[in-house]
């Protein structure tokens, strides 16, 4: 079954272990600037939100890519993959992604975009708070729906 990455900002503490794990996986060193996931913290509010590629079905980055370097993976479902050999570094994908989730890194001359570590995302392994999850694509809808249902249940329980 296909799996998708889900973010739960309500559980995120802003520790950035995800960024460290991501950069370590890709470069064997710690460079948050190389991480494909970023956890942003608003210090006044004490809120943190992890951000990463959504592996869109109708992906803007794939559409604008003139060489086919950015493409839907044929081996892994739910993955928009980037082929560095085909890429000409025109950076169109970084402009097209509405979330800013595709980035150009001058230091390594690469496009940085989540590749789900080819189906085994390290950020999920290292997130200590369950704020990142890699779940079955159906499961994620079901669990979210059920979570909402539970909220309704609570509300109705209180009035009845």
């Amino acid at each position: 079954m296909a799996k998708v990455l889900m973010i739960h900002p309500d559980k995120c503490t802003g520790c950035r272990n995800c960024e460290l794990a991501c950069s370590f996986e890709h470069e064997s060193r710690f460079r948050p600037g190389a991480s494909r996931v970023q956890a942003y913290t608003w210090e006044r509010e004490g809120m943190s939100v992890p951000m990463m590629c959504q592996q869109c079905d109708d992906a803007a980055c794939v559409k604008v890519c003139p060489t086919g370097a950015m493409h839907r993976s044929t081996t892994l479902a739910n993955l928009v993959d980037w082929d560095e050999r085909v890429c000409i570094r025109c950076k169109m994908c970084t402009v097209a992604c509405p979330f800013g989730n595709a980035r150009y890194d001058a230091a390594s001359s690469s496009i940085f975009k989540c590749d789900t570590c080819q189906g085994a995302p390290e950020c999920v392994t290292f997130c200590p708070n369950g704020a990142l999850e890699f779940v079955d694509d159906e499961q994620q809808v079901r669990s979210r729906k059920k979570a909402y249902a539970a909220k309704f249940k609570e509300a109705f329980q209180e009035v009845s």
Partner: protein, 601 residues
């Protein structure tokens, strides 16, 4: 080179010069970084008789070799300088993300010397470093300063700054980073203020490299598992924060109450972590690379004390709570917010207000001294008002901001200052817990708990247990904790990681990161070296065995109520053994042989 970046940044604010030098890696092997390296730089570069608030003092910001990696809960840095409070080598440890950012910008340490002619801030973006005018931010609180400096530099910059207390040179002023994390103790904020340095903003895009990535990852996975499986590291601290300690110390009879007049506070539960979680907690927060998340994002709705911020930690909740005879958590949290916003140490200020309350109740000071306030124990609005005044330095607040020793001494009653080496002792009563008393007395920065946290064994049953009421074995216990913490601080790790891992795991991670093999023995030896180095500095400051002491009250006035009723501390039974086990002579001076063994002579 791995772990270390290899570069140290030096900024001379008098001359306006910025230089980069190679980090001395030989020294780094022996002192790691952070507290150890910072202390070594102090000893090598600053004359012991330097006035702490003069341009000749240096202010060092130093992360450790683990900082910036994903070693669990090891993203810390240390602020090292000569302490305005008590002349020791101040080493104030803080978390957040400032330390890692300094590493990513390329630096093992930032050394600040001299004094700017007018208020400035420092902007470090990798190797572009600028000293900039700070006249527009001078006078602002720490959150406002952070926002203003970010607006002029980079919205993702990490900012460490002082508040009004540091500008006013309060010897208990701290340095705040990312708005809520504090390098809290010994007055490091006043040194920054004396240099006219309002803030440091850092943005780094570089990397921290690792000698053996596979070995490191394996070591980290193991350490994470141990911490996560531990009842405290894994769940307890995240659920309740450090303030969960209020109840266990109170039920043990060792919660100092009303300026240590007692060791038990009947309504303490109202100020504990359980109450905080139920009433004020918005969400837990973690420092960089932390898997524990003890931080508290908190909110007070009560209009009298409304506010939003972080904390309080246990020590702060105690200082403004039981120590002032107060059980109103809203007021305590408000006082904590005020301290963070104005950049002043909560432990020292809370304890100083408690001291003033006792002076007031004894009639030594009156409402004439306190700007008309009835400063009695348990007076909630008075406590918050005095906190505010100390923060801004107005009226009687200017005296409070000097810390309890200077305050009590100015009225002829230094014995009412609950301090060791002029620094306020924290939230564990040495009459109910013997070993922590020995730690307070011998601690190189004076009244301090983190550098010799025997509470873990004496009260918290963490791994091993020792009866808090006995003195036997406590000298050895203290020394082990003091040495362990010296090395752990210098590696960049958080003390709370010890709720799960120990020297073995830390040494393994350190070896894998740096490529320098550290055994457990060598790791502990580094801690011992650092302890002795700090001791040597203190001896040069004129501290003697007479200063390895506790406030007289703790030795002669038994606890009045509660489970430890009737107890006093028996420091005299522990201190000689401590000196002996340390390899010091009977005057507390390290022997030649010991110094040689530690490569300090």
């Amino acid at each position: 080179m791995f772990g270390w970046t290899g570069t140290t940044l030096r900024v001379d604010l008098t001359k306006g010069t910025i230089t980069r030098e190679a980090t001395d890696l030989e020294l780094a092997h022996d002192y790691l970084g952070a507290r150890g390296m910072g202390g070594k730089i102090m000893i090598d570069e600053v004359a012991p008789d330097t006035d702490a608030l003069s341009p000749a003092n240096k202010l060092i910001f130093s992360p450790g070799p683990l900082t910036g990696t994903f070693a669990p809960s090891a993203g810390r840095f240390e602020v090292v300088t000569k302490a305005p409070l008590n002349n020791v080598i101040a080493g104030s440890n803080s978390g957040g993300a400032f330390g890692p950012e300094l590493k990513y910008a390329g630096y093992d340490a930032l050394i600040i010397e001299g004094k700017a002619a007018k208020p400035v801030y420092l902007w470090i973006k990798n190797d572009e470093v600028e000293i900039r005018d700070a006249s527009a931010v001078w006078g602002h609180t720490t959150p406002d300063t952070t926002d203003l400096v970010r607006a002029e530099t980079d919205e993702d910059a990490k900012v460490a700054c002082i508040g009004p207390a540091g500008e006013h040179l309060s010897p208990i002023a701290n340095i705040m980073n990312e708005m809520h994390r504090a390098a809290g103790r010994s007055g490091v904020g006043a040194v920054m203020g004396s240099k006219n340095l309002k803030a440091i903003a850092v943005f780094g895009t570089g990397a921290v490299t690792v000698a053996d990535p596979d070995r490191f990852k394996a070591a980290v996975m193991k350490a994470r598992k141990l911490i996560q499986a531990h009842p405290v590291g894994g769940t307890g601290l995240k659920a309740y924060g450090t303030d969960v300690l209020v109840n266990i110390l109170n039920q043990t009879g060792a919660l100092p109450t009303r300026n240590y007049q007692d060791g038990y506070f009947p309504t303490a539960d109202k100020t504990g972590g359980e109450s905080l979680a139920a009433k004020q907690l918005v969400r837990p927060k973690g420092c960089f690379s932390c898997i524990i998340s003890c931080g508290r994002v908190t909110k007070v709705d009560n209009p009298a004390y409304a506010g939003y911020g972080e904390g309080p930690e246990y020590e702060s909740a105690w200082a403004f709570g039981a120590d002032c005879g107060i059980d109103d958590l809203d007021a305590i949290t408000k006082a904590n917010f005020l301290c963070n916003e104005h950049g002043i140490d909560t432990i020292s200020l809370g304890s100083t207000i408690a001291c003033a309350m006792e002076l007031f109740e004894l009639g030594v000071i009156t409402a004439k001294d306190t700007d008309g306030v009835q400063l009695t124990f348990g007076n909630v609005p008075a406590m918050v008002e005095m906190t505010r005044k100390a923060c801004t330095g107005e009226g009687f607040g200017a005296k409070l901001a000097q810390g309890s020793y200077r305050l009590a001494e100015s009225y002829g009653h230094p014995e009412l200052s609950m301090t060791c080496k002029k620094q306020e002792t924290p939230a564990y009563d040495p009459r109910g817990v013997q070993g922590i008393g020995l730690n307070y007395a011998t601690n190189n920065r004076g009244g301090d708990h983190v550098r010799g946290y025997t509470i873990a064994i004496e009260v918290l049953q963490n791994g091993a247990v020792m009866d808090p009421r006995v003195t036997e074995g406590k000298a050895d216990l203290d020394i082990t904790f003091q040495n362990l913490t010296g090395a752990l601080d210098s590696a960049g790790a958080c003390l709370f990681s010890t709720f799960g891992i120990g020297a073995g795991e830390l040494a393994e991670m350190l070896s894998a990161v740096t490529g320098v093999e550290y055994s457990v023995d060598e790791f502990m030896k580094i801690g011992e070296r650092i302890w002795n180095q700090e001791r040597l500095w203190n001896l040069k400051q004129g501290y003697t065995t007479d200063d390895d002491a506790l406030p007289k009250r703790l030795l002669t006035e038994p606890i009045k109520t509660g489970p430890a009723k009737g107890e006093v501390n028996h420091l005299d039974k522990m201190l000689p053994e401590y000196y002996q086990l340390r390899g010091w002579d009977e005057k507390g001076v390290p022997t030649k042989a010991k110094l040689k063994e530690l490569s300090l002579a």
